[in-house]
């Protein structure tokens, strides 16, 4: 064999090496300058000396220093399209070659040190809470597994990144190595907890836990890279001990027996790697061809800096190379033909070993290999590739249906290759359907700019792509700015058009619309003038430079580009003081809020009801004083009318069809819109002033006269309510008929809402009443707001009435309550400060069609907070189990809130998300409880208090919707069958 040490001008440790499946390149991962480093190298110079000497053949293809800390593992996907890397920064990154970018796309750089190939990080997988030690692609790249010092193994859906299929928990120590069974039935992991675990891919449960060979293991190794033989028959562990000697334990697939091991290394085995080929004995010329048993070949690397290569047909190692490196061996990779071997070491070097067929034997071709698999497993690998859960018997035909549906759903993704691309449409979501050009045109006007407390400008940048959502378009650098009046075609500068296909993915569709020719022309002209300007500058500087006296300034100018601003006048560079930083932060936050607060008080404070302060002064409050208060606290249009100096003020309430809030708005005439017009002091009749209420919708109008000035009016499709200064409340039908004699309120009206036939009144003495004017009953009787207001400085910031007549009150402290009239209690339904909301992550459980169902009062109160799922990914430091628990708690809260709000559509929406979450995370007990509640008793019994409906939804119909969700996880097929059968039984009844 031949041993070469390729040129790797790296002195930092190399932790991982992997040869690309096509054999033309290999990747290394390790420590960079101040980051982790992934490097892709050209293989040719390693294989052939003449290529090594040829200056024109690049050795280094691409360097990526995106990892924030040391890279522990790099692995090519089996199809060679992707490279996965895992590092100390807790991240797994998935890389893809960006075919459309030419060499070097780094902003402003020269192309001298350009990367020959461009590999871009298309996906960052965040979940681990500790260093990622090993990553492994499953056969056929269905899954990507990663293991970490957080003791878990995460199985990612490689066709739908960043979806997590399962988190395997059970190790009690740092997990340092992973290997997939080539047949796809198992994945094995080895950890510092002195165990090797084999997990089933069918249900992701533990198949076996092997501890005996590791019980003697002391000390730690950086990695424990174990390996499965290509025929699937043997699993070989890293660091094991036998009679106090370090070994690599051989574990037989058949019964997980541990009777054999590779012995001889003086220190712990760090890495074992099977040759991808199965070999048979080389037929020697002349000798009688006698059929021999095929065998496998395995390389073992150790902390003792030596490497051994074994054939399963031999008792002794084929070759042992001592002191190959200065430091421990970290990783081994075979070429696909099985004759080459790259080994990397902590000392920062990589060695190449070249074997001949005489030494290893004749590699079997794929057909022969498949025949072996066929023999052993009854099927060949080529067949297993499509059915992911091949070995599971699907017992229930319905289950089969849902499994098939699931696969159909996955197919569109597969058609586009692996996940990342299929994610690209999400980018447009971030942009709310607007194209990037549109955004760029208006960015200056649209972007949010605030002032901090110390008067500094603060811009909130527009997020045009989330990092996790897929492939970005290549760098836009030097792209032409969008000129006023020009169209998208200005984007078509030569650099951009060359990668237009990637640009498309961002929604940057270069339009060749003939109607835009004139702007096009201006763009051309502009470009021309720009180049002209460039030329003139170039010429000018030429001229300038010829005169020696002018050189100095030019030099001086140039140095400005590179010198850091040390003492730029007018700027005080803020020294970094750790202690101060959090303080600054607080200041920032408050300063952002402050202008908002000002806004509210200055312009439109109609929602800011001083209910609380009034409540305190309840006793002493008398009419006149209240009016004073009202004027201050609620400078609404109608409140302004009170002074007599404005004799005939007129106010029009524009009432949109559904949401009948009394937002005042001046005479906008749109057809089909309802107006409620209030005119105070229309006429004075015998000393009392009359006020008029005018109502108009689609041409129909009516009016009503009231003896006192109107302070608030509100309406719905069914009723119109007005509150007057004399503390009366009048209710009319939509046709103007008075429904109830004036209701006398205990205190002046503060907020009034109507919804369908419900009327809600919030008075200045902080009490709430809700009436059903159709049935003429009180739903809420003068209930005090004290329980929610006491102990806080909060005021009521918003209130509304749902379609079902549930009163909802939001306070300025971010909490929202509703009054539960059956329990007669206030219930907290939303809290903007709630950390549960911020840390939940149920994005995986939300399907596209769900978006519609989420509209309703609950969504209204929680508002944007619910995009909180996004926040979750930011808190990558939150341990998974904690996040899981928080998500569970949050979802259950949502469900019960929807129930209290009597919001049926939202209840259904959250129920389905909840069910999906339970299924994904494997909460069997809760799932069973949920199903049981939805199903109810199968046989009628009088003692049962089970209600067949919830919020008007039939529970069994809901169960019918939940079952397909359950059917998607094979683990729950018993549960599925159980409820499916019972439901069927009930249907027949």
């Amino acid at each position: 064999d031949k041993l070469t040490r390729p040129w790797l001008p790296v002195s930092k440790p190399i932790f991982s090496v992997d040869i690309h499946p096509d054999g033309t390149k290999f990747a290394t991962g390790g420590q960079g300058e101040d980051s982790g480093k992934v490097v892709i190298w050209n293989m040719a110079p390693v294989l052939r000396e003449e290529d090594e000497r040829n200056e024109n053949i690049p050795k280094l293809l691409c360097q990526m220093d995106n990892h924030l800390a040391c890279v522990n593992c790099v692995r090519w996907s089996n199809n060679g399209l992707y490279l996965a890397s895992g590092g100390d920064d807790k991240l797994v990154m998935v890389w893809k070659r960006a075919a459309f970018i030419g060499p070097s796309a780094v902003f402003g750089s020269s192309s001298k040190l350009a990367n020959v190939e461009q590999w871009r990080c298309v996906m960052i997988l965040r979940n681990h809470t500790g260093d990622v030690m090993d990553v492994a692609w499953s056969p056929h790249d269905v899954w990507l597994a990663s293991c970490s010092v957080d003791n878990t193994i995460v199985i990612w859906n490689a066709r739908k990144f960043p979806e997590i299929v399962m988190t395997l928990k059970g190790h009690t120590g740092l997990v340092k190595g992973l290997t997939w069974d080539p047949v796809g039935k198992y994945i094995a992991s080895q950890a510092d907890d002195r165990s090797l675990k084999v997990w089933r891919t069918m249900d992701w449960q533990l198949e076996t836990n092997i501890t005996k060979p590791f019980s003697e293991c002391g000390g730690t190794t950086h990695v424990l890279r174990l390996s499965w033989s290509p025929d699937g028959q043997y699993l070989v562990s890293a660091h094991a001990m036998n009679n106090s000697g370090p070994t690599a334990q051989i574990i037989e697939r058949d019964g997980w027996k541990t009777n054999m091991d590779f012995v001889g290394h003086r220190k712990a085995v760090t890495v074992v790697k099977f040759n991808p080929k199965i070999f048979k004995k080389k037929q020697k010329n002349g000798s009688t061809p006698k059929p021999s048993c095929p065998y496998c070949c395995c390389a073992v690397g150790s902390k003792d800096r030596s490497l051994s290569v074994w054939l399963t047909s031999l008792k002794r190692p084929l070759v042992v190379i001592h002191d190959l490196f200065d430091k421990s061996i970290m990783d081994i990779t075979w070429t696909l033909n099985g004759l080459g071997l790259l080994v990397c070491s902590m000392d920062g070097t990589v060695a190449f070993l070249d074997f001949s067929q005489d030494e290893l034997g004749d590699p079997l071709n794929e057909e022969e290999k498949n025949a072996i698999h066929q023999n052993i497993y009854g099927k060949s690998l080529a067949i297993t590739m499509e059915s992911q859960l091949s070995s599971t018997i699907i017992e229930n035909p319905e289950m089969l249906k849902y499994q098939q549906e699931r696969q159909v759903n996955q197919n569109p993704n597969e058609a586009q290759g692996i996940g990342p691309e299929s994610q690209t449409p999400k980018l447009t979501n971030v942009l709310n359907g607007e194209s990037l050009e549109d955004i760029r045109k208006n960015l200056l006007n649209k972007q949010v700019e605030t002032r901090t407390a110390d008067g500094r400008r603060r811009i909130t940048p527009l997020c045009i792509a989330q990092l996790d959502t897929g492939d970005f378009s290549p760098a836009l650098f030097n792209s032409v700015p969008i000129l006023p009046g020009s169209s998208a075609s200005t984007q078509l500068t030569p650099q951009i058009s060359s990668d237009s296909s990637t640009a498309n993915s961002l929604g940057l569709r270069p339009s060749h619309d003939p109607t835009t020719t004139s702007p096009n022309k201006t763009a051309e002209e502009n470009k021309d003038s720009a180049t002209a300007a460039v030329n003139s500058i170039g010429m000018k500087s030429n001229l300038l430079l010829t005169s020696a006296s002018k050189i100095e300034p030019m030099k001086a100018l140039d140095s400005r580009f590179t010198e850091r601003s040390k003492a730029t006048p007018g700027v005080t560079s803020v020294p970094l003081t750790i202690g101060i930083t959090p303080l600054d932060r607080v200041k920032d936050c408050s300063s952002v809020k402050e202008p908002k607060g000002k806004d509210e008080t200055s312009s439109d404070s109609e929602d800011k009801i001083m209910v609380k302060s009034m409540a305190k002064r309840k006793g002493e409050m008398e009419g006149a004083e209240v009016v004073e208060k009202r004027k201050k606290g609620r400078p609404r249009k109608d409140a302004k009318m009170m002074p007599i100096s404005q004799p005939f003020p007129q106010v029009t309430f524009l009432l949109s069809k559904d949401a009948w809030t009394s937002k005042s708005m001046d005479g906008v005439s749109t057809d089909g819109v309802t107006y409620l017009e209030v005119e105070n002091e229309v006429s004075v009749v015998s000393g009392s002033r009359l006020s008029q209420l005018k109502w108009s919708r689609e041409g129909r109008e009516w009016d009503a006269l009231l003896p006192s000035r109107i302070i608030i009016a509100a309406g719905s499709n069914d009723v119109v309510a007005v509150a007057c200064e004399d503390r009366t409340l009048s209710v009319f039908t939509a046709c103007g008929r008075r429904l109830i004699p004036s209701i006398i309120l205990p205190a002046p009206m503060s907020a009034l809402h109507c919804s369908r036939h419900f009327v809600m009144a919030l008075t200045a003495s902080a009490t709430l009443s809700v009436w059903d004017v159709q049935k003429q009953t009180a739903l809420v009787k003068n209930e005090s707001l004290n329980p929610i207001l006491s102990g806080t400085d909060a005021t009521v910031s918003q209130s509304f009435l749902t379609q079902q007549g549930v009163a909802v009150v939001s306070l300025s402290n971010g909490k929202t309550y509703c009054f539960n009239s059956s329990l007669e209690t206030w219930n907290l339904i939303a809290d903007k400060q709630d950390s549960l909301v911020q840390c939940t992550d149920f994005r995986n459980c939300v399907s596209a069609q769900d978006a519609l169902g989420s509209m309703g009062p609950l969504a209204l109160t929680q508002g944007r907070n619910l995009s909180a799922g996004r926040l979750a990914s930011r808190l990558s430091s939150t341990p998974h189990h904690l996040q899981q628990g928080m998500t569970l708690a949050f979802l259950e809260k949502q469900l019960s809130s929807a129930l209290v709000l009597l919001s049926a559509s939202e209840y259904r929406h959250w129920l389905l998300i909840y069910a999906r979450f339970l299924v994904n995370e494997g909460y069997e007990l809760r799932l069973r409880e949920l199903c049981q509640d939805l199903l109810g008793p199968v046989h009628k019994s009088s003692s049962s208090s089970w209600e067949p409906t919830v919020l008007g939804l039939r529970k069994r119909d809901l169960l019918t919707e939940v079952l397909p969700v359950i059917g998607q996880n094979l683990r729950f097929q018993r549960l599925f069958t159980e409820y499916q059968d019972q439901l069927e039984l009930l249907r027949l009844k």
């Binding site: 972007q447 527009l462 030097n478 500058i537 500087s541 730029t568």
Partner: protein, 197 residues
């Protein structure tokens, strides 16, 4: 590895009258959520002779910055002409965009700016006292000069070695071949070396 990569700077409203505000549309990508704001500055170099005439046109905080790709337009008023030496008003100068995180500058983007009269008459016979209303500002947008600096992105200072804070290539702008009187034209001047590679 810097957590923030500037992907693009588009110079808007260029060329434009001298008194128009500067507008840069900046696109950047952030590796992970930044707990602190970024601070961007536009610095106008009033005179090549001395840093004394540098003017910070404006500084702006940008945040919050979650992981992802973001863009914003940084607009800043034109320089105070009273602070520009009259002899330097017309001709080539530089405008710099810098970005700092936790008070440490990690990127500096420089553009050459050419200020000249549009009127040929004025161009031939420039007034002694510059007439800023007639001056046109032209930023050489196609040729940004980008310098990146290693900074400490984390809150803790102890791990940061001081040496890493030093400009990686302080003299990169002056190629060894450049001799007085024979400097290459601006457009062909080699770029400063990048620490990112």
């Amino acid at each position: 590895m810097a957590k923030v990569q500037v992907l693009n700077v588009a110079v808007l409203d260029n060329p434009s009258p001298f008194r128009n505000p500067f507008q840069f549309e900046i696109t950047f990508e952030c590796m992970e959520d930044l707990p602190e704001d970024l601070e961007w500055k536009i610095i106008y170099v009033g005179s090549a002779e001395s840093e004394e005439y540098d003017q910070v046109l404006d500084s702006v905080l940008v945040g919050p910055v979650p992981a992802g790709r973001h863009m914003f337009v940084f607009q800043a008023d034109a320089p105070n002409t009273g602070l520009i030496p009259e002899s330097d008003a017309v001709g080539v100068t530089v405008v710099l965009i810098t970005c700092t995180y936790r008070g440490q500058e990690f990127i500096r983007i420089g553009y050459y700016v050419n200020n000249e009269y549009t009127d040929p008459e004025l161009r031939e016979n420039p007034p002694v006292k510059p007439d800023y209303t007639q001056l046109q500002r032209n930023i050489l947008a196609s040729n940004p000069r980008v310098t990146r600096f290693h900074i400490n992105w984390e809150a803790t200072m102890d791990k940061m070695e001081d040496s890493e804070n030093v400009d990686p290539a302080p003299n990169a702008m002056l190629p060894p071949t450049s001799m007085p009187g024979k400097a290459p034209p601006l457009g062909l001047m080699p770029d400063n070396s990048m620490d990112c590679l």
